[in-house]
Symmetry: D2
Subunit: 175 residues, 4 copies
């Protein structure tokens, strides 16, 4: 299908729920944010690590541009997820909080929950594993019905990303 | 409506026909290209002047990225239009042809026809006047039904442009 | 004088010694690096904070370009100094080590020693205070004789920086 | 020697005189500009073609940055030379004049004189041939004594160019 989107039918499984240990930049009145709460909206899930150069130079600036370009669309939710799978001691929530402040990242950012086996035995956090992400940055698009429609790894072109989001937006809400 | 697009109804007039004196990069078998021939497709009309820095640094590279990002979409036509309204003697078709070759611009490019009153009396070429363009670069989007849906002047963000094109693509063909 | 350099005479005081608590990327056989050990060489001292966007996007890439452009010059030493004056808990040596590794920064980097009064009472580290730096990133040039010749704050142009370093290189060694 | 400069001795031949058919942006009172008139100054000779993308995107913006970075140095002269060796009919002085105006190029620019054999038999202009330039853009550095000290082809790093110019500036005037 167009713009690297899977078709809205059976080929697109429901997006797995997120497992998070903490959130930043939540809207007033929230102390967490579940995927289900966003049902009916197109979700742009940007996963990153604060010390990953590809995230800092490409992924996060693009996520900020997406948040700005679609700011007028209530139907689009831009969400960040800090999926630390290396240098765990170097990227704690204390460091992340200062990073988000200094880089002026204003959209909600969750901290992906560490493996229940412990990071020493399994360095990948839970949501990253559920979504089978290849690394950071990854850009995940979820449609209004909660289906996983696109997962991209690495630098992506703005034109194609904008086209993919708009294509999901144009799909009927009750599809 | 979304992404600076006018609504597909009465607010969107039919796009005026183009008046051209010459074409470059036409598909085999064509010696010109009329708007009517592209009915049913989404048209991205990029107007420029070869000596306009905003066109060279921003507009044309974006048009090339659009052509590449939507290369797989038969329903999208990227068309250039050389709308010379100043320095007429400096931007002749001879110079334009070398410019297109050197900058590796491969999509069809028409030369906007000079005013019938003569450029000395009216420097604006005919199509530029019909579309009421403010200058160069301008990016014009025309929907499948031939309606003018968006006219932008100056540098534009890739995300919004990609979203606008995809929104037109998602509209039903017979609308 | 040229390129924002002070004159080599009385107007240029000796550069203060550095106070560091730790080093990364030291040459083999060193466990620290003092200013005096570099006497006779032109010193490019780049001060930064790992979570400062101006450092990440402009300062550090420039320092890396400097290290590369002058790689053939034994007479030039590029040195980094991590001058943390805010978010102290977020920019510990553990985080810095991962940051340097991920961003492929290979030149020696010292950690500026915290204030003896404690960062709660005086957030500025010792070397930053001695050099009266205004913030991060700052680029400090020290001549062969150990004199402070230029201190710049914020983004600087490569041409002027390259010219300033070469001007110091062209000064006689025993001046 | 440093920064791709040849040594100032016998290895550096006198720079050949320029052969020009026309000038733009000359200082008041000049109707041409010969190499000899600039003796005693460091000359940055930027050769380009107005339809060469490498010139438009890299070479000319760098030449403009050089002119700005060294604006306070009476001892530095930035000179452009339009060395057309292809698409001759597309890059006439009429087109060049509009190009310089639109791109806000303010330093003096000469038009390299066409081959005496005619461009059909020898497409390379005279100065380009005398300097044995490989193409456009090329950056030529000439020292205070009129010696050719560096000839670079293609994109060059600002740091190294700034360092090379400053090195020539630091050489004694009567050397």
């Amino acid at each position: 299908m167009r713009f690297d989107l899977t078709s809205p039918g059976a080929a697109s499984p429901p997006a797995p729920p997120w497992a998070t240990s903490r959130w930043f930049n939540l809207p007033a009145g929230h102390d967490s944010l579940a995927l289900d709460e966003l049902r009916g909206r197109v979700i742009v899930l940007h996963t990153f690590q604060m010390l990953c150069p590809g995230c800092v130079f490409h992924g996060l600036p693009q996520a900020q541009r997406i948040a700005q370009a679609f700011a007028g669309e209530d139907d689009v939710a831009v969400i960040g997820l800090h999926t630390v799978f290396e240098h765990h001691a170097a990227m704690t929530p204390v460091s992340l909080e200062a990073f988000l402040y200094e880089h002026r990242i204003r959209f909600p950012v969750g901290v992906d929950a560490a493996s229940e086996a412990g990071t020493a035995r399994d360095p990948l956090p839970q949501t990253m594993r559920r979504y089978a992400l290849q690394g950071t940055p990854s850009l995940v698009l979820i449609d209004r019905a909660g289906r996983l429609r696109r997962t991209g790894f690495g630098a992506e072109e703005d034109l194609g990303v904008g086209a993919a989001i708009a294509t999901l937006l144009a799909e009927p809400k009750d599809r």
